[in-house]
Amino acid sequence: MGSSRADTIRGNRAFSVIAHHWAAFFLLIFIVIFSFTGKGFFRITNFQNVIHLGVIAVLMACAETFVIITGGIDLSVGFVMGFSSVTAGKIIQVMFAAGEGTPPAAAIITAVAAVLVLSLIPGLISGLLIARYQVPPFIATLGMWGITNGIALKISEGFPVAMLPDVLTKIGNGYVFYFRKGTGISLFGLPEGVGNESIREFTRLIPNSFLFLGIIVLILWHLLRNTTFGQHTYAVGGNEDAAIRSGIDVKRHIVKIYVLSSFIAGLAGIFNVFQTGIGNFTPFGAMYELFAVAAVVIGGASLLGGKGSIIGSFVGVLLIAFLENGLLISGVEPFYRFIAVGLLLIIAVVIDQLFPDFL
C-alpha cells in the first residue's frame, strides 16, 4: 500500500518533469519525426540553416523574456529592429557612397555604433512612460510600435535600403570554419586562392551569426541568472510591493528592462543588415513581437510575470523554428506554420495550467 503510493508519487513526478520540460521533449520528438518525413532534415547544414534563420527570433525572444518576467510586454521589438536595420543601412549607404575616402569598415563601424545608441531611445521612452507615468506596457509599447514603424518607413521611404558594401553579407553569411579534404581548415573565409565557385566542395561549420548570437545569448543568460540585476528582474515580476519594500528601485529597474529590450532589438536589426546586405523595415505581417512572446510562453514563462528563463525561451524559438523548417522540408504548405504555432501556444498554456510548480 505504502509502496504503491510512493510509486504513484514517483510516477507523477516523472510525468511532471516531462510536463515541465515538455518544450524540450517536443523539440526532440519533432526532430525525430522530421528526420523520417523530411529528406535532408537531419543534416548539419540544415540545422545550421535553421539557427542562422532563427537568429533574429532568438534575439527577440531574449528581449521579450526580460520584459515578460517583470510582468510587462514589449510590442515594439519588431519595429525597433526594422528601425535599427534601416538606420544602419542608411548610414552605411550614405557614408559608403559619399566619399571614396570612406572605407566600408569605417562606415559599418560608425553605423553599428550609432544604431546601438539610437536603439536605446525607444526603450528609454517606453520605460519612462511605464515606470514613471503609469502607462500600461501594452499601450506604451504599442505606441512605440507605431512610432518606430513610421520612422523606419520615413527613413527608408518605403523601400529597402540597398547598395551596401558586399563585406556585410560576407561577414553575415560567413562561417567560422571552412574545411576541405586536402586543403585543410581555414577560418572565417575560403583559403587564399580558392575561388567562390568551389565553395560547395567545402564543409562549412558554425555560421558567424551563430557565433555572435552565442556570445550575446550567453551574456544575457548570465545577466538574468547570475547577477543581482537578474534577481531583481524576477523580484519585480513576482511581487512588486515586496521588491519595493526590500529596497529595489523598481521604477529605475523597469526603465532599464525596456532599454535592454530595445537594445537587443537594435542588435537584431544589425544582424539583419549583415545577413541580408540591405536595410529592411519590418513589414506589418511579420509579427516578430508576437512570435517572440509565443516562444517565451512556450519556454515556460507566464504573462503574469516572475517566471521564465533565457534557455526556456531559446528552446521555445527552436521549437517554432524546427517546426516550420520541418514542415517545409516535409513538403507541407508553409501556411500551416501559423496554425501550428497557434496550436503550440495553446498547448503551452494548457500544460502550464495543468502542472503548477510543485517541483
Binding site: L142, G143, W145, I151, F335, Y336, L345, I346, A348
Partner: protein, 357 residues
C-alpha cells in the same frame, strides 16, 4: 472666492475629460486650413467610408477590453471573413444561383462561420484560463494560416457585380434633371454632376454599431460586461455566469470582425488574408482614445467611435495634404500614449444629489 476657484477647477476637469472632442475639433480646423478641399461632403463621406474598419474593429475590441481582455485576432479574422465570404459567394453563383441570393446567403453563412473563432478563443479564455493575449494570438495564427490556405486554391475574387454596386454605392443620389434616386446611380451622361449621399456600407456599419451601443449601455448584458471588468470576484458572487459571458464577448468580437470582413469584400470586391493586418494599432488606439482602460471596466461605444473618427480624419487629412501614410503611424502612436497620460490627469466625475445635501 473659494467656490469660484472650485467651480473653475470643475470646469477645467469637465473640459479635460472631453479632450478627445477638443482634439477632434482642432484636427478639423487644422486640416480645414491646410488641406485643400477638406471641407466638402465628399471628404466627410470618405472619412466615414474608410473609417468603417476602425469603427467596427474598435467596437469589437472595446467589448473585450471592458472585460479586461484583449483580442489580437480581429484584424486577421477580418481578412479571414473577407476570403470566406468571397469564396462562398463565388461558389454559389457558380452553382447557378442568382447574384442577389448568393450574396445574401454568402453573407449570412460568413457571419455564422465568423462566430466560431470567437467561440474557440472565448472557451480558451473562460474555461482553460488561457490569458486573452495568448488565446487570441493563437487564433490569429490559425485564422491567418487558414486564410492563406483558402487563397492558395485560387484568388478570392470573381464576385458578382452586385457586390461592387453595394460596396461602393450610396443610399441617395441627386443630379440636376433626374432629381433624387435611391440606391441606383442615375444614368446620366459622363461629366454630369451627380451628388452622392451616404455610402451604403456606412449605413451597414453604423446599424451594427448602433445595436451594440444599445446593448452595452442599456441592457443587462452590457451591465454585466462592465461588472466583469470592474471586479470578477464580485461578478461571480453576484451570480453572473462569468465564463459564459466571456465566451459571448469573444464571439461578439469575432462576429464584428466578420462584419468588417464582409464590408471589405463589398468595398474592394475581393478577399485578402491581411486585409486588417495593420488595424491592430488603430482599433486599440480608438478604444483607448475613447477613454477605455486596458485594466477593464471602462469605455463606451460612442467614445470609441470618436477615437476612430480622430484616426480616420488624420488619415484622410494627411492623404489630402500629400503626406506619406508613414507619418500616420507615428501620429497614432503618439496620440495613443498621450491619451493614457491625459486621462490620468482628469479623474472620474462625482455627483452630489441636491435633494440629499
Amino acid at each position: 472666492m473659494k467656490t469660484n476657484l472650485l467651480r473653475n477647477k470643475n470646469l477645467l476637469l469637465e473640459i479635460g475629460r472631453r479632450w478627445a472632442l477638443i482634439f477632434l475639433f482642432a484636427e478639423i480646423v487644422f486640416f480645414g486650413l491646410s488641406a485643400k478641399g477638406f471641407f466638402s461632403i465628399r471628404v466627410f463621406q470618405m472619412v466615414l467610408f474608410f473609417g468603417t474598419t476602425v469603427f467596427l474593429l474598435g467596437t469589437a475590441e472595446l467589448f473585450v477590453i471592458i472585460t479586461g481582455g484583449i483580442d489580437l485576432s480581429v484584424g486577421y479574422l477580418m481578412g479571414f471573413s473577407s476570403i470566406v465570404s468571397t469564396k462562398i459567394i463565388f461558389a454559389l453563383t457558380e452553382s447557378g444561383m442568382g447574384d442577389g441570393i448568393s450574396l445574401l446567403l454568402g453573407i449570412v453563412l460568413t457571419l455564422l462561420i465568423g462566430l466560431i473563432p470567437g467561440l474557440v478563443s472565448g472557451l480558451m479564455v473562460a474555461k482553460l484560463k488561457v490569458p486573452p493575449f495568448i488565446a487570441t494570438f493563437a487564433m490569429l495564427g490559425i485564422s491567418h494560416g487558414v486564410s492563406e490556405l483558402l487563397i492558395k486554391e485560387g484568388a478570392a475574387k470573381n464576385l458578382p457585380h452586385l457586390a461592387n454596386a453595394i460596396g461602393n454605392g450610396y443610399v441617395f443620389y441627386w443630379s440636376s434633371g433626374v432629381g433624387f434616386s435611391m440606391f441606383n446611380r442615375p444614368q446620366v451622361a459622363r461629366g454630369v454632376f451627380v451628388l452622392e449621399l451616404i455610402p451604403n456600407i456606412v449605413v451597414i456599419a453604423f446599424a451594427a454599431i448602433g445595436i451594440l451601443a444599445f446593448l452595452l449601455k442599456r441592457t443587462v448584458f452590457g451591465q454585466h460586461t462592465y461588472a466583469i471588468g470592474g471586479n470578477v470576484d464580485s461578478a461571480v458572487r453576484s451570480g453572473i455566469n462569468v465564463d459564459r459571458h466571456l465566451v459571448k464577448i469573444y464571439m461578439l468580437s469575432s462576429f464584428l470582425a466578420a462584419i468588417s470582413g464582409i464590408i471589405y469584400m463589398l468595398m474592394y470586391v475581393t478577399g485578402k488574408a491581411d486585409a486588417g493586418a495593420s488595424s491592430l494599432l488603430d482599433s486599440i488606439a480608438a478604444v483607448v482614445i475613447g477613454g477605455a482602460s486596458l485594466s477593464g471596466g471602462k469605455g463606451t461605444v460612442w467614445r470609441t467611435i470618436l477615437g476612430g473618427v480622430i484616426i480616420a480624419i488624420l488619415e484622410t487629412g494627411m492623404r489630402l495634404m500629400g503626406i506619406p501614410t508613414f507619418d500616420k503611424y507615428i501620429m497614432v502612436g503618439i496620440i495613443l500614449i498621450s491619451a493614457v497620460l491625459i486621462d490620468q490627469l482628469f479623474p472620474d466625475r462625482t455627483y452630489t444629489d441636491k435633494e440629499e445635501s
